[in-house]
């Protein structure tokens, strides 16, 4: 059977990749979820569209959830004492940010701004809390995935910290313990 692009476009694959659940399944946090759990997650998240240079949140705002970038680009920055912007990270599709606010109502530690027209998938604390009552099992799996990625990050961070400490010890000429 020849792969006629016309029919190819109409049936399956291409359209499949456009769906939200396909996108979510590609995100590391959610890649262990089954098709059914992804469909449930799809009902839980909110899609928000931002214009170029639109603020997503500012440092100090009361945060209520995390965002995953579906398309576009997001700049994370903080302001130094002179009020100058210090870029902390430039995030691409598939990255997520703001996850600290998902577990507790804390002020945002940095600001986020869309640098181009950006589509974000938002996952918020109130929805997660409600979901734990309604569907405990899939929600536990979603949170477990988030926990796994955060634990990986923490491990990476502490490894880097150890390396930094070693290098600073070496540079100061103190003996390594």
């Amino acid at each position: 059977m020849t792969s006629n692009p016309f029919w190819h476009n109409i049936f399956r694959n291409q359209a499949d990749k456009q769906t939200l659940s396909y996108f979510l399944s590609q995100v590391p946090i959610f890649n262990k979820l089954t098709r059914r759990e992804l469909a449930y997650l799809e009902k839980l998240v909110h899609i928000r569209n931002f214009e170029a240079d639109e603020m997503i949140f500012s440092a100090g705002d009361v945060g209520s959830g995390m965002y995953i970038i579906r398309s576009g680009q997001v700049q994370i920055f903080s302001l130094d004492t002179d009020g100058l912007e210090q870029e902390l990270a430039l995030l691409e599709p598939g990255d997520f940010f703001g996850e600290v606010a998902l577990t507790a109502s804390r002020p945002r530690s940095a600001s986020a701004r869309a640098t181009t027209a950006t589509s974000l998938v938002g996952l918020f604390r109130s929805d997660i809390l409600e979901a734990t009552h309604r569907h405990p099992a899939p929600t536990a799996k979603i949170l477990f995935g988030l926990n796994r990625v955060l634990a990986d990050r923490l491990l990476h961070c502490s490894e880097q910290l150890v390396m930094l400490q070693r290098s600073s010890n070496i540079s100061q000429g103190r003996p390594h313990e």
């Binding site: 100090g60 009361v62 009020g83």
Partner: protein
Amino acid sequence: MSDSPGLSRAQVAVLYLVLTTAIASGIAIYSSATTITSLLKTATSGLFLPILLAMIVAFMLEPLVRLIENRGIHRTLAIFCIYLLISGTIVLLLLLIGPPNWRSMIQALKADVPRYVSFAIVYLTGLLELAQQHFPFIAHYNLGDHLRDFSQTLIGAILIQTPRSAMRIGSLLILVPLFSFFFLRDSRRIMRGIIALTPNRYFEMVLDIYSHVSWQLSNFIRGRIIEAIIVGLVVWAGLALTDIRYAPILAVIAGVSNLVPYVGPIFGMLPGITIALVDLGVGAQFWWILCVYILIAQIIVDNMILIPILISKVSNLHPLWVILAIIMGGKLYGILGMIIGVPIASIINIVILEIRQYRRTFNPYNRYFSSRGKML
């Protein structure tokens, strides 16, 4: 006109046309707006009560639906299960006990109400004469006549309204289950659709406020309804021990009036006490009925047991606001307004409390100054 120095003939014609069109379109817009609002008013006139009742039913059934849904059953199926269960219980009760004899009870009440009212009037007139002996200046306040007129119009209204309200109850029996089914199934989707309309900057705030309000409101409504049912049952049980007539109706009145805080219970016990005075006289049974209404139902069951368990979770309004809400609700929608005035006041309270947390979001200069006040 054509000779006027400033304007040529063509300009006058254009001015004339523009002015006429403006006036005509103004009248057209005004009349169509009034027709549209009056059309909307007539179209939605009967819908307020069924939608309100359906929301209350949905709030009450939500925990049951969730219980079944947690076992992995689809939500729609879970709602159908609950509906089947409830209608099954009602049919079973009707088969076991037999339908309550409401008709004869209401017929008897129709005959008895004038008797009770005339007794109350005689009693009040006696009180008034006593008062007039001490305070002669109130002689021209003919309270007895006022009361008689009022009671006659009230009885007339009840007699006329009964068949009409039977029709309304019939339509409620169809509409309320239908509406509450959709509220139960789709309320989340509907609310998500509405919340999705908010601008990005306020989205997180609106989502948080919505979740708080819905949590508090569902707890409040559930608590209030359960409280009213239990108080009604307690009053029924207490009254059933005596020889008083119409115990079930009096229990329903006590339960429903208990939905209005502070003022409601007082008005809820008036008919019971009047009937007890007329039929039983001041005796042991009368004091027992008074005790049931005030001491057992209100103080012990309601204030000591039910309110701490059911309502204390919800942020409480100051009594002053509660009374203001009751009065304003009563002005707008009568007894129904008195009942729903307090929940609406507490919604406003929660929203104000929540928004205070987010006051930074509303600061328009937020983006242009650093946290230390330096201009960016």
